[in-house]
Every structure is written in structure tokens, then in C-alpha cells.
């Protein structure tokens, strides 16, 4: 993996192996407590060499003897950027996705915004089924008509109102509270200039949760 010889245990995926060795691969639809799904395509890595090299989602690809993996080639980064751009076009108000855009240098959003507040990552479905044993929601239809809902769109008798789906949703958790962006891409966190350091000796938010208060982004321009 990235030129380093790594060992994986039987049953590990490429993502499991990378995490074990501290290699960072971005994910969205992956969660430790849920079965891997492979919908968001952010965890893509390049496997193989030469002409036969291809991109696969590391969260679903099983670790195999002799597998050659590269986590951040040009192909990977370009594909990842497009995935983020596509996700932004359907869930522009999600801070998680806006942060990913800042982190990976996605500065343009060239598609018509169609705000569905959902990227169909399936985390809610798997949370409900696997962790909460509710099985109240699922995918409907296929292709561009795909959506997540209760069977026949009627009020569910299985749903126990546990809130697990809301908790785990990357599109609706962490609504950005920073500046109201004029364009589809905010990127304000990209040009973050923490103002808290003027008053404190250390960062007050450690940047990962940055922008929650929006202070540093709002005041400095």
C-alpha cells in the first residue's frame, strides 16, 4: 500500500488495512458499526499496476494476497473531487460535504443545484436495520428516481422514533452555521483564519469541528 508492505488479517477490507496502518482515506457512507455499502465512492483507491490498474472502493474491496494499492494517485484525486462536486450538487447545505470540498480542493460546482438533502449513502437504512433492528426505511426505485422512504411512503409502524437515522446522516448533521455562501460552494473553511488565537493560547475547536460557531470565518475577511 503506497509502497509500504502491509499485512492484513483474514476478512479485512482494504480500508480496514489502511486504517490499521494510519493511512487516511476519506469516507462518508462507511461506519464502523455498519456493513460496508460502497455508495459514496469517496474511499476509492487505485489497485493493480500498469494498464490493468483500476479504481475500487476500499471499504468493500477485500484485502488479497499480493494486492498493490495506491491511495492518492492523480486518478484517485480527480475521481474523488468529482464525487464531492456531485454530492454538493444534491446536498449543498451539508457542512460535512462542504468541508470535504474545502479539504480536497473542490472550488467549483458546475451542475444545476437540485437540493435533495440526501446523497443516498444508505447510512440511515443500515443504521435502522442493523443497529436499531427497526427496518423501517429502505431504498425505493432505481436510477435517478431512487429515494429513501418507508414502504409505500406511509407512516411506519416499525419506526420507534429513535432518531438513529438523523444522528448518522452526513447530509443533515452539522448544518453549516458559518457565513451564508453566495455561490454553491462556500469554501470559507478553506480560507479559515482562526480569530480565537488572538484571545486564547490554543485553538478552541481543533479545526475538525471548525466553523460551528462561525466566528473565525465571519469576522476575518
Amino acid at each position: 500500500m503506497n509502497g509500504i508492505e502491509v499485512k492484513a488479517e483474514e476478512g479485512w477490507t482494504v480500508l480496514d488495512t489502511a486504517k490499521f496502518y494510519g493511512l487516511e482515506i476519506p469516507t462518508l457512507c462507511h461506519h464502523e458499526g455498519l456493513t460496508p455499502y460502497g455508495a459514496c465512492r469517496l474511499c476509492l483507491v487505485e489497485i493493480g499496476e500498469g494498464e490493468k490498474a483500476k479504481l475500487v472502493s476500499s471499504c468493500t474491496y477485500p484485502a488479497e494476497q499480493g494486492l498493490v494499492i495506491h491511495t492518492d494517485t492523480k486518478r484517485v484525486i480527480q475521481a474523488r473531487r468529482m464525487m464531492i462536486e456531485l454530492m454538493l450538487s444534491v446536498a449543498p447545505y451539508s457542512k460535512v460535504i462542504q468541508d470535504l470540498a474545502s479539504k480536497f480542493g473542490v472550488t467549483r460546482m458546475r451542475f444545476k443545484i437540485r437540493n435533495e438533502e440526501c446523497i443516498l449513502c444508505g447510512l440511515c437504512v443500515r443504521m435502522c436495520e442493523e443497529q436499531m433492528d427497526g427496518k423501517a426505511i429502505g431504498f425505493q426505485n432505481r436510477g435517478y428516481k431512487r429515494k429513501i422512504s418507508t414502504p409505500f411512503d406511509i407512516r411506519s409502524e416499525e419506526c420507534r422514533l429513535c432518531g438513529g437515522c438523523i444522528y448518522i446522516c452526513p447530509a443533515c448533521q452539522l448544518r453549516c452555521q458559518g457565513p451564508q455562501a453566495e455561490t454553491a460552494i462556500c469554501n470559507a473553511c478553506l480560507t479559515m483564519d482562526p480569530t480565537c488565537l488572538d484571545y486564547y493560547d490554543e485553538l478552541q475547536c481543533w479545526m475538525y469541528d471548525a466553523g460551528r460557531c462561525g466566528t473565525c470565518v465571519r469576522e476575518r475577511k
Binding site: E64, A79, M83, L120, R146
Partner: protein, 629 residues
């Protein structure tokens, strides 16, 4: 049809095959073979059959004239057609009214009815016998050929063309490893589109651990315009089943599935009948012919999803789950149906197997090119004179298929492109007409072999429209799991749709290419990975057409409705009011003898006015530049 009795031993089977082949050879009655697959029926073959039956009865010829109703003969343009044996007279485009004449003049009177003969649209020459017809001349119909000889609902008729002799050979003379070795040496590659070496797949499945293994026949055939598998399943289901049984022997599978798409009711019916007869004959079930071998076949029907042609989605569908592909590895040959080793092959692949076993690997490998052996069935459709199914040796050029077999473009229009491989394939321009057809050469040119769809396009086809059509299909059929495919196809479609409506702008083509690449790279299954092909290939060879739509707001082929303006040519208009009467939207104003005017805001661009005008006074203008009104 004789009632099928149980066959108890291999010796009995050998004997019954012998009897049937002999009785066919010694057939003294005249046989009228009617092509009656789904396409034939759609063109009225059932009524022709009824009329023929009536006429035969009216002349009291039931003992002397036999009517054999078969599956598709392949020459769809000529249907409803018959072939009269033993003289092999081919009559085409029949109506029920022709039945009496056929019986009286040809059968009884021994005379040829000229007007029912095939006439070459280019040379005007008529053909009497089936093999005189140019459409059939360059074909090598090792798979489809038997369609003409057998009633697909009769096991006995399948015996009469030597059917199941290959199975006997596989049971008695060859070990499973020898069967696999034969298939490997033949060079047969999967006919479903990916072209994976069949023998290698069989070997991998055989080597997998486990007592329970499965064999699956992929009859989903989702590509629009492709109907090769349908014709094989409808016209010769026993051949496919024999192939599967040989596969089961080689791999060690006792159970199998034929997955047929629900949109093929006749194929489902014929396969069901075939399996039923085989059960009754003791050729399916437990301890077949007292060899200790078990084998059975179940039918699984699709429910309208193109993505279920993908092997892992198909397996999910059979298991009762949603038809969504999954990550491979593990491949189906290791973990497939119900997590057991499964060998899944296309209908045409299975149909080739009995021939390979019967005639040997060398025989098969003699046809085709170095990398692609054997024949391939293509559905030649679109702007072509001889629409139909063509089975040709690999390595034949596109030009030969389109002109020698296909008879060229109707109305003498100019050839523009040929689309191969369905929604996963691409469009090839006239400059590539000399391309020999095999897996590698098509992929190298930016298309793929696919399942065999071949759509011919002429100068009146708009390539932007074609790209939009396929993208629309793909965005609808994508399973929706991967955002790269689901949103990728949707956004590509949006961009191309805007271009076709004159809303394209600078940077659109670059964005389209970037998006196409991302869809191709990031998607998990074949649908997403090849979804970009229609766009990329049309951009590669016909970029100028896209640019005309974007920068000149012009559709060179005159197809994209938003870019056409219908105008009255003042100098030629006589004020006859024909166009005004033809217009369905009252968009034309004008009184008698006055020059008429088309109201652009009401015009729905149907072209009825242009059709109605006798003075060529209406023009469909393709705007050359952005008009300043």
C-alpha cells in the same frame, strides 16, 4: 406430435435420436416451414399459418403437406416468410391471402410465384432459394441455422437434427476435465459482452470448494435493439439446455437456472415447454439415463431491470433480493448463487457448447480471428435495408455486414455511423467501416462488442440525439447505489439535453468529458463503468456536431426539434391552405391565395405542413447563426 415416453438408458436415447434423424432424412412430404418467432408473429405470421392450414385442408393435402412452425429465421425484413422443402423455395412478406396460391400453384402445381420472391433492392435481382439471398450468403449460421429446421416445442424434432448427441458424448466419452479442456482450446469467449474465456470460467468454478454448485443461463438481454438471445431461446431452447447440461457435467453442478427477462413471454413459454418435455423424457431430474447424474433446471423471470443482466445483480434477483450489483471479488465462480460456486454464461455461449463438443475444439477455432474464435450473432437494425439477425464469423468487416449482408442504407441515404454494444458501447463512423469485428478491435475503437446489438444510422440521425437517448436509458436503469453512476448519468443527460435544445454553452463539452471519465473510473459495476461510452465515442468521432448545436444553435441532421424552424418560402407559396389544414396546432395563418405564415410560438415542429405542401414552399430551417430578431 408423439407423446413423450420416458427414456431409460443411453442406448435407448441413441436409438431414438437415430430413428428421428432417419425419419427426417426420409421425409417425403413437402414441408412448409413458417418463421414464427415474436417478430414474425408481430408481422402477422399467425394469421398466415391459419390461412395455410385452411388451404391445405381445403385441398385435402393433410397427408402430403406438412406445416412446420419454427422460431425466427433471422431475416426479419422479409417476415412473415416461409421456406418450402425440399426445394428450399423462399417466399417473403406474406399475407393470409397468399396462402391459397402457395398451396395450389407451388405445392400442387410446382410453379414459383414471382411476386412472393425476395428481390434485391439494389440490383433488382430475384432469389428463389434461401441460399441465393444475399442476406444469408456471407453468414455462418452455426447457432441460428437450426432454427429453420426445428419446431422449438418438440423434443423429437430436436433429436431429428442430431440433438443430445453431444450430451451423450460428454457423459460417456469425456471426463469433466476433458470437457473443460475442449472448451478452453476452442477459444470460446462469453457472448454476453465481456468476452471472458468460457473455459477459464468453467475451470475456476470446477476448482472451487463445495459440493453444491450452480449453472446459470443469462437470458436478460436488456440492450435496446438486441434480440439475439430471444430468437435462440424461442427457436431452439433445447440447444441451450443441452449446453447447460454439458456445463453442469463439467463443473459438477446438479441444479441450474435460466433467467429470462419477463418481456419475452414466448421465450419463457418455449423454455418451460422444453423443460417439461425433458422431465417427461427422463432427461432432466434424478439419475438421468441411469448414469447416477442428477440435473434440473428452474426458470427465473426478470422484472424489467436492465441492471439485472449484470451477473451479481442477476444472482441477487434470483435470490429474491433487490437487483443491485455487488463488489467482486469474490467472483461468482467462487461465491455466487446462495454463496455457492456458480458459473453464469450468456444464452449464445451455452448454445455454442453442443457444437464444440460434437465437432471438437479445432473445428470451432478454425472460424474467427486469433483472439476471437467462432461466430457472433448481431441484431442488424436501424437504417438498414435487410433488418434481421446475422450470424457471422468473427473478423468480418463492418462494411461487409452493413452492405453485403445488410443491403446498405434505405432510400440511398448516406451511412453515418453504426452503434455497437448497446448502451455500453459506442458509435463508429464511416472511416472505420473496414474494421474487422472482434472483441479487441471494437474496444480499441472506443466501442465494445457487447451482446451484439448493431444499430445503423444515416445522415438524418443526430449524434447528440443518440447520446441523449442512451444517457436517458442509463439514468433510468442505473441501480442507483454508486453516486458516480446515478448522478453521473443524470448530469451527463442534463448537459446533453441542454445542448440538444440549443441551451448548450462554452465549457459544456469539457465538463461532459470530465464527468464521463469520473463516471467510468469511479463506478463499481459494468453499467456505470461503460455508461460513458456512448457520450465519449460520439464526442470522439462527431465532435463537430456537438459544437454546431452549441455554438451555431444548429442541428446538422435536422432532428433536434428546438433547433428547427419551419418557415414558408414566400416566392413559392400559392396560398392553397393545405399546410394550414394539416397543422395540428393552428399555427399557420393565411387566407386563400395569400402567402401563409407560420407562428413560431405555436409551432410544435411536427413537420406535417412540410409533408402537406405540394409546392415545396415550406422549409425546415436549421438556423445557421444565433438569430437576432
Amino acid at each position: 406430435m408423439k407423446r413423450m415416453k420416458k427414456i431409460k438408458t443411453i442406448a435407448e436415447l441413441k436409438q431414438i435420436i437415430e430413428e428421428q434423424t432417419l425419419s427426417r432424412k426420409n421425409e417425403t412430404a413437402k414441408v412448409i416451414t413458417v418463421s414464427s418467432g415474436t417478430c414474425g408473429q408481430a408481422r402477422g405470421s399467425l394469421k398466415v399459418i391459419e390461412a395455410l392450414k385452411k388451404a391445405i385442408k381445403a385441398e385435402g393435402l393433410e397427408e402430403k403437406v406438412k406445416l412446420r412452425i419454427t422460431g425466427c429465421h433471422g431475416f426479419c425484413e422479409a417476415e412473415p416468410n416461409v421456406i418450402i422443402y425440399p426445394d428450399r423455395i423462399f417466399y417473403q412478406k406474406l399475407t393470409p391471402a397468399d396462402a391459397r396460391a402457395i398451396i395450389k400453384e407451388t405445392i400442387q402445381g410446382g410453379k414459383i410465384i414471382e411476386k412472393l420472391l425476395y428481390k434485391d433492392p439494389q440490383t433488382g435481382q430475384k432469389a428463389v432459394k434461401e441460399d441465393e439471398i444475399p442476406f444469408y450468403k456471407k453468414q455462418k449460421r452455426i447457432v441460428l441455422g437450426d432454427n429453420v429446421f426445428v419446431d422449438p416445442t418438440s423434443l423429437l424434432e430436436y433429436f431429428s437434427v442430431g440433438g443430445f448427441r453431444s450430451l451423450i458424448k460428454a457423459m460417456v466419452e469425456l471426463t469433466p476435465d476433458e470437457i473443460i479442456q475442449t472448451v478452453k482450446e476452442s477459444g470460446l469467449r462469453g457472448r454476453g459482452g465481456a468476452g471472458f474465456p468460457t473455459g477459464v470460467k468453467w475451470e475456476a468454478t470446477r476448482r472451487s470448494h463445495g459440493d453444491i454448485k450452480y449453472v446459470i443461463c443469462n437470458g436478460d438481454e436488456g440492450d435496446p435493439g438486441a434480440y439475439m438471445d430471444r430468437s435462440v431461446l424461442e427457436g431452439n431452447p433445447f440447444r441451450v439446455i443441452e449446453g447447460m447440461m454439458i456445463g453442469g457435467l463439467a463443473i459438477g453442478a446438479r441444479e441450474s437456472y435460466i433467467y429470462v427477462r419477463d418481456e419475452y413471454p414466448l421465450a419463457v413459454r418455449h423454455v418451460t415447454l422444453a423443460i417439461d418435455q425433458l422431465h417427461k423424457a427422463g432427461l432432466l431430474g434424478k439419475n438421468i439415463l441411469q448414469t447416477g447424474i442428477d440435473f434440473d433446471i428452474h426458470i427465473a423471470k426478470g422484472a424489467g431491470a436492465f441492471v439485472c443482466g449484470e451477473e451479481t445483480a442477476l444472482i441477487a434477483s434470483i435470490e429474491g433480493r433487490v437487483g443491485e450489483p455487488r463488489q467482486r471479488p469474490p467472483f461468482p465462480s467462487i461465491k455466487g448463487l446462495w454463496k455457492k460456486p456458480t458459473c453464469i454464461n450468456n444464452v449464445e455461449t451455452w448454445a455454442n457448447i453442443p457444437l464444440i463438443i460434437k465437432n471438437g475444439a479445432d473445428w470451432f477455432a478454425r472460424t474467427g480471428t486469433n483472439g476471437s474464435k467462432g461466430t457472433k450473432i448481431f441484431s442488424l437494425v436501424g437504417k438498414i435495408n435487410n433488418t434481421g439477425l446475422v450470424e457471422v464469423p468473427m473478423g468480418i468487416t463492418l462494411k461487409e455486414i452493413i452492405y453485403d449482408i445488410g443491403g446498405g442504407i434505405p432510400e440511398d441515404k448516406e451511412f453515418k455511423a453504426v452503434q455497437t454494444g448497446g448502451p455500453s458501447g459506442g458509435c463508429l463512423p464511416a472511416s472505420l467501416l473496414d474494421l474487422p469485428i472482434d472483441y479487441e478491435s471494437l474496444t480499441g475503437a472506443g466501442s465494445i462488442m457487447g451482446s451484439g446489438g448493431m444499430i445503423v444510422m444515416d445522415e438524418k440521425t443526430c449524434m447528440v440525439d443518440v447520446a441523449m437517448y442512451f444517457l436517458n436509458f442509463l439514468r433510468d436503469e442505473s441501480c442507483g447505489k454508486c453516486i458516480s453512476c446515478r448522478e453521473g448519468t443524470q448530469r451527463m443527460w442534463e448537459i446533453v439535453k441542454d445542448i440538444s435544445e440549443g441551451k448548450g454553452k462554452k465549457g459544456d463539452l469539457e465538463l461532459l468529458e470530465e464527468l464521463a471519465l469520473a463516471t467510468k473510473e469511479a463506478s463499481m459495476c459494468g453499467l456505470g463503468q461503460t455508461a460513458a461510452n456512448p457520450v465519449l465515442s460520439t464526442l470522439k468521432y462527431f465532435r463537430d456536431e456537438f459544437e454546431a448545436h452549441i455554438f451555431e444553435k444548429r442541428c446538422p441532421a435536422g432532428v433536434c426539434k428546438s433547433l428547427i424552424r419551419y418557415v414558408v418560402i414566400a416566392e413559392k407559396c400559392t396560398g392553397c391552405q393545405s399546410c394550414k389544414k394539416a397543422c395540428p396546432n393552428q399555427a399557420i395563418q393565411g387566407t386563400l391565395k395569400d402567402i401563409h405564415l407560420i407562428d413560431q410560438s405555436k409551432c410544435i415542429k411536427c413537420g406535417a405542413c412540410l409533408e402537406a405542401c405540394q409546392f415545396e414552399a415550406i422549409e425546415a430551417q436549421r438556423e445557421v447563426a444565433i438569430l437576432v430578431e
